[in-house]
Every structure is written in structure tokens, then in C-alpha cells.
Symmetry: C2
């Protein structure tokens, strides 16, 4: 087990970088972080990418960061091209990847190019797909500018786009060559989006590291008073939660499926709510439904059940204010979820990760997907809506 | 080294299967062949694929074969869906893969599905891309119905589509789970397409197994009198040529780049000829240009030079009848070829595989891409056109 799991990771001094090795199976990816450290990060990027054009795929909202990165690359003699994208769910498609590839090729992308993502989880995925497919694979570097991108999405080899309402139906695996985070970038994220986005991390806490629940809530509540310190704590929790699972299961088809907690119903809500809700918030609602299901199916104890609310409430995911949704549509979507196929499921069963306790999945740890009667999901969703 | 390289592979009796293990690095893929053996092949397919929907991606022209395969699958209790495609170069795009995925999902494709290709190299690639991306990878089985598909394209993990005239700019690697060939399927291919398609094999003979030149020409000339025997010989030559290279270099980024012989100029001709020519024929022309270049650059001896014509002439690729093409456009395309990046190349250099002798590449064997002045390529192409 990597040493940084024993103690909290060091907090960097301004302008300096701390670098740890994040494990993906037997490989590791260098993950560097700091505060006000763009210059040092780009030093490292220039070291690790091949000599050809650097294709920067950036969220339009952080084009400023992307352009600073490009200028720093140019100062190191590296050519780059900027492709901006709108980070919306509808843009998470193979058509967008095709269009990005077309623009990259026109800009001079070759087999000795690399792709650098600048943005959140959605941009990381689009850039990862481009890097995975271009000339059958060029290196991908992630510079996440959102907390969820930095603390969760980037700690995965999985890249994907959606298709006809089935989230992440098309994808591939790509181990990042390097991940670099300037914690300062993360402070600029819209507060509402940040809070709901952190539901992904609340999920990791309740499912994997419940002992970090207190630190998590304190960090969330301290974001205004001490943003850098709070973000540093969240990064630490994110890495501690994911590292052992990704080391054991780099393709996330076994024990690491625990990170799909809340996602079956969450994805269904995300793609069918009358007023669209962000991914993180949808996962939060998916967790609450999963907790209700587990009360019935796995006898989830009251403390673990309540922990869901304790972690999600500070993020604004509160039981009595669920999104406006059609229960029948959500259940139908959940029945088509892309986790079908991990386990034999009957036509009227939904495949879900359930908890037996905080930090412990129900069923087989090796593939923690449990068949849940669609009718039970329907009842739990209806109950959630009644509390509205 | 696998034993079947020592002697010719056994010719199967009608209705029976012969199965060999084809190596991809440390993995092997079972490759089964026979004559009038559809029933036995589908037995094997049903054994190796997972329990979900079998998505059959078929060339519209061989929908008959695909439907027989589907009926045989149904008789074994396996559900399948048929997606037909037009096997044209313009269909070899990410948009087609997107559309196939959409149709497959609507038909019920899930994580426990598999993809079966029925057709030639182009359909194999589209199906391979679909299998590689669907739920981040489901098994792919190839049932090639063209000689080039069976003897060359299928003996590779590389899958790709083209983008804006750059051949195979987007792709991925996918080791086939099973390859099955009924030699009877191969007899139905249009004779002109078959002959030009065999240029891919002529390339393998001159570049890798020149000792098989006599058997190759005899098999080509015997296709009418003894189709099964001739096709059996060609399959044997195809496997013998590729197996040792794919065992050593499963991603074809090193020694196996030898199979790109003729492809730099060939791809450029294929995508820019005034009257489009098939891939195989274009590769044939690319080989002739590469031989002319090698006469100047590597001192290719006269016998090896002449062997190109001896192997290609029976296929109808004859020096005095090149396609109608604009030399400047072909050179411009060759300069943008996707082999750029294997080697440092100047702006006015084309990356090509060249031979120093029959069966021996010029330059470094480990990455046999040689920088060739664009002007020399231009002169050799112009000379080819003057002989027209």
C-alpha cells in the first residue's frame, strides 16, 4: 500500500509542488498539486509529453487557465493548439469527439502529439476519448479545474461518452500520463455546482472511508474561511478513498464498482429529470434512494442510513427537495442502465450497488452489483417524491 | 515459435474444422477454418461469446451468410441482432460507429453482449471499433468473408476509421476472441476485387516471406481450377507471414510496421485518385513506388525489384496502367500520412517502409520507417504516370 495512505498528504507551500504516485493496477501516474504553481506544473507537463503538437481540450469557461498553460508551454518551446468545448451533458457524445479530432487534425495533430484536458470531469472524458482514439492512442494529461474533476473523476482510467440517454455507453480505458492540480483553480468554481459536485465525494466517504466523514463535513463547511486548506483535505480524502481500489482493480470491473454507488438511479434521474440536475446532485439523490432500498433489502443500520443525510445536507441535497421527476421514466431508465451485464438480471431487476453498512458493500465484494426488484426502486422513488 | 510455421497447415476435410492459435504478444486467438463448416463454426462462436445479445455487423452484400449464422445461433438458444453496413471507404468513419452503436443499443446491446463481424476488412474494422467502445469493450469475433479479410486484416489487433482523408486516424486495439473462416465464403467474392485485394498479401510475401513467392503465384493462378486448395495455400501464407511479427509486436508499433509496406503512398493514392481504386490495388501501386524509391535510396537489387512486378502482375496491378491521379495531391496526402510520428520527420519528408532486399527492411528493424524526401516520392510517382 502506498505510504501516503498512512498519514494525510503534505500541504504544499505556495509556488511549490507536491507529487505523489497514484496507482492504477501495477502502473502509477504522477499526481502533482500545489497552490499558485502553474509554472511548475507546466514544467512537468513539458517533461512528460512527446515532442509533437500539444492538443489542449478546455472547458470554454476556463479558457483563461488554458491560455496561460499554452503560454507557459510556448515559453518552453512547445507548440500547442486550443480546442474549447461547452461542458454540457449533450456535448458528451461520440459526435463531439469526432469534431474535436477533426479540429485537432486540422491544427496539426500527429502520432507524436498529446492531449491535455483543462476543465472538469466531462472535459476530462472528452479529452480522454480523443487521446484514446487518436492514432490508436496518444498520451493524456489532466489539469482538472474543478474539485470533482480533481478529487474523483481524474482518479480513474475510465473515459466515456453517452448515447441516446444511456450514460457512458461508449468508452475506453486510458491511464493518464500525468495529473496536475493548482488548488487555486478549484476556488473559482461556481459555489452551487461545487457543492452538488461534492456529492460524488460524499458517496466515496459513506461507501469506502466513513472514518473520514468528520473531516469531510468540516472541509465542506470551511470552504469559505480556508479554501486552500479545505480543498487540500478533500484532495487527500479523494486519493485515500480511491487509491487502494484502483490499485487492485484498474478497470473498475470488480471491487472498484463500489464507486458506482448511487449511480444507477442517479444516472436515471440525471437523464430524465424535468428540470435537468447536475451529475453530482443526481448521484446524491441516487444515494438516498439506494439507502432506502438497503433499509429493506440489506437491513442497513440507522447510523449508516443517517450518515447519507449528514454528508449530503451540507451540499444542499436535502430529502424534502428532490428534483421534479416522473418515477416511471426514472425506473425505465434505471432498467436500461449500463451496469446491466455485470450480473445476470431479470427483465424487472435493476442492478445497483447497495451498502450493508457504512464502508461495506452488500453482496459479493468482488462484483458488488445486487439485483433489486424494479418495483422496490419504484416505491422508494415514490416515497422520496411524496416527501417533496 | 508456433509449430504450424514449420509445415504447411493441414487442409481440412469438408464439414470439419481445423483450429490453430494465432499469437498476439503473449495472448493467442483461436482461428478455425474449414470448407462448408458453418455449423461447426457457429458451435464455436456460441461457446466463446458471453450470454447477452450477439450483435452481428455485416456487409450488406453478405447478409445471406449473416442470416445463416444468426439462424444457427438461434438454434443454439442465442439471441442476435443484425446490423448491415455498406462497405465503402466513406462509411469508415466515427459517425458510422456512432450510428451502429445507436442501432445496437436499440436492439438490446448490453455489457454482456458481443460483436460478430461478417464481411471484409472494412466491416471488421467498424465492428471492432463498436466492440472496443461499447461499454468500454465487449468481445469481438470475426467471420471474414473475403480473402483479404481472412488472410490479412483479421490477423491484427488494430481497428480504425478514417477522418478527413487521413486513413485510420482514429482507432483502438482489440484482440479478437475468435476468428472463424469457411473457405467457401471466400469463393463468392467478385474476382476483380479479390485479385486487387490480394495485393496486401503480395506485399507480405515480398516484405516478409519471399520464399513463398512461388506458392503465392501458383495459388493465385490456380484459383479457378482449385479454389479451395488455392485459398487454403493463401491462408497458410498469410498466417506464416504475420504470426512471428504479431507475437513479437502485438500493437504493430515496432517490427510489425513492416506490414505498412506500400501503405504510405498507397493510402495517399486510395484517398485521392480521380477514379477511386480499392485499398488493395492502391497498396499495390504504393509498393511499386516504394520499390522505385528503394532503387535510389537503399540500392534495392534488381531481383527484389522485379519480384514486386512478378507478384502484382497476376493480380492485375501492371506498371503501364496506373490510376488517374494528381501527383501533387498524392504527395501532399503522403506528407500528412498517419505514420508521421513514428520517426522525427522534416516538413518535406515522407515516412515510408523501404526494403533493402526481398524479406528485409531498410533502416532500423525495430521501427522500420525511413524518412524519404517528398521530392523523390514526387519524381517516382511522375515516372509511374509517364509510363501510363
Amino acid at each position: 500500500m502506498t505510504t501516503y495512505l498512512a498519514t494525510a498528504m503534505p500541504s504544499p507551500e505556495a509556488g511549490t509542488l507536491v507529487e505523489v504516485d497514484f496507482p492504477f493496477g501495477h502502473e502509477t501516474t504522477p499526481l502533482a498539486y500545489g497552490v499558485d504553481c502553474e509554472d511548475r506544473l507546466v514544467d512537468r507537463v513539458a517533461e512528460v509529453v512527446p515532442p509533437g503538437l500539444v492538443v489542449v481540450v478546455a472547458d470554454r469557461n476556463v479558457a483563461g487557465v488554458a491560455n496561460r498553460v499554452r503560454n507557459l508551454l510556448a515559453a518552453r518551446g512547445r507548440r500547442s493548439a486550443l480546442l474549447t468545448v461547452d461542458a454540457t451533458e449533450s456535448a458528451k457524445s461520440l459526435a463531439t469527439v469526432d469534431e474535436l479530432a477533426r479540429r485537432a487534425l486540422a491544427a496539426g495533430m500527429s502520432r507524436s502529439s498529446s492531449v491535455v484536458s483543462v476543465g472538469g470531469g466531462l472535459v476530462e472524458n472528452l479529452a480522454g476519448m480523443l487521446a484514446g482514439l487518436a492514432f490508436r492512442g496518444v498520451p493524456i494529461v489532466h489539469l482538472p479545474t474543478t474539485p470533482v474533476g480533481a478529487f474523483d473523476a481524474v482518479l480513474s482510467r475510465k473515459q466515456a461518452v453517452s448515447l441516446d440517454g444511456v450514460k457512458n455507453a461508449l468508452g475506453l480505458f486510458r491511464t493518464p500520463t500525468f495529473v496536475g492540480v493548482d488548488l487555486r483553480w478549484l476556488e473559482t468554481v461556481d459555489r452551487t455546482l461545487l457543492m452538488t459536485g461534492l456529492a460524488e465525494m460524499a458517496k466515496n466517504v459513506v461507501a469506502v472511508v466513513p472514518e473520514d466523514a468528520g473531516r469531510f463535513v468540516a472541509a465542506v463547511e470551511g470552504l469559505d474561511a480556508d479554501p486552500s486548506g479545505s480543498l487540500m483535505t478533500l484532495l487527500d480524502i479523494g486519493i485515500r478513498a480511491k487509491a487502494p481500489f484502483l490499485a487492485a482493480d484498474p478497470d473498475e470491473k470488480g471491487v472498484a464498482l463500489v464507486f458506482e454507488y448511487g449511480h444507477t438511479v442517479g444516472h436515471a434521474i440525471e437523464t430524465s429529470a424535468v428540470t435537468p440536475r447536475p451529475h453530482g446532485e443526481s448521484v446524491g439523490w441516487g444515494m438516498l434512494v439506494a439507502a432506502d432500498v438497503a433499509r429493506v433489502m440489506t437491513g442497513l443500520n440507522v447510523d449508516a442510513y443517517a450518515l447519507h443525510d449528514e454528508l449530503l445536507r451540507p451540499l444542499g441535497v436535502v430529502r424534502n427537495a428532490p428534483p421534479d421527476l416522473d418515477v416511471a421514466v426514472v425506473v425505465e431508465r434505471a432498467l436500461r442502465d449500463n451496469k446491466r451485464g455485470y450480473r445476470p438480471l431479470a427483465e424487472d431487476e435493476v442492478g445497483m450497488v447497495l451498502l450493508a453498512d457504512a464502508g461495506r458493500v452488500a453482496g459479493e465484494t468482488s462484483v458488488p452489483i445486487v439485483p433489486v426488484p424494479a418495483d422496490l426502486v419504484r416505491r422508494c422513488l415514490a416515497q422520496l417524491m411524496e416527501e417533496r
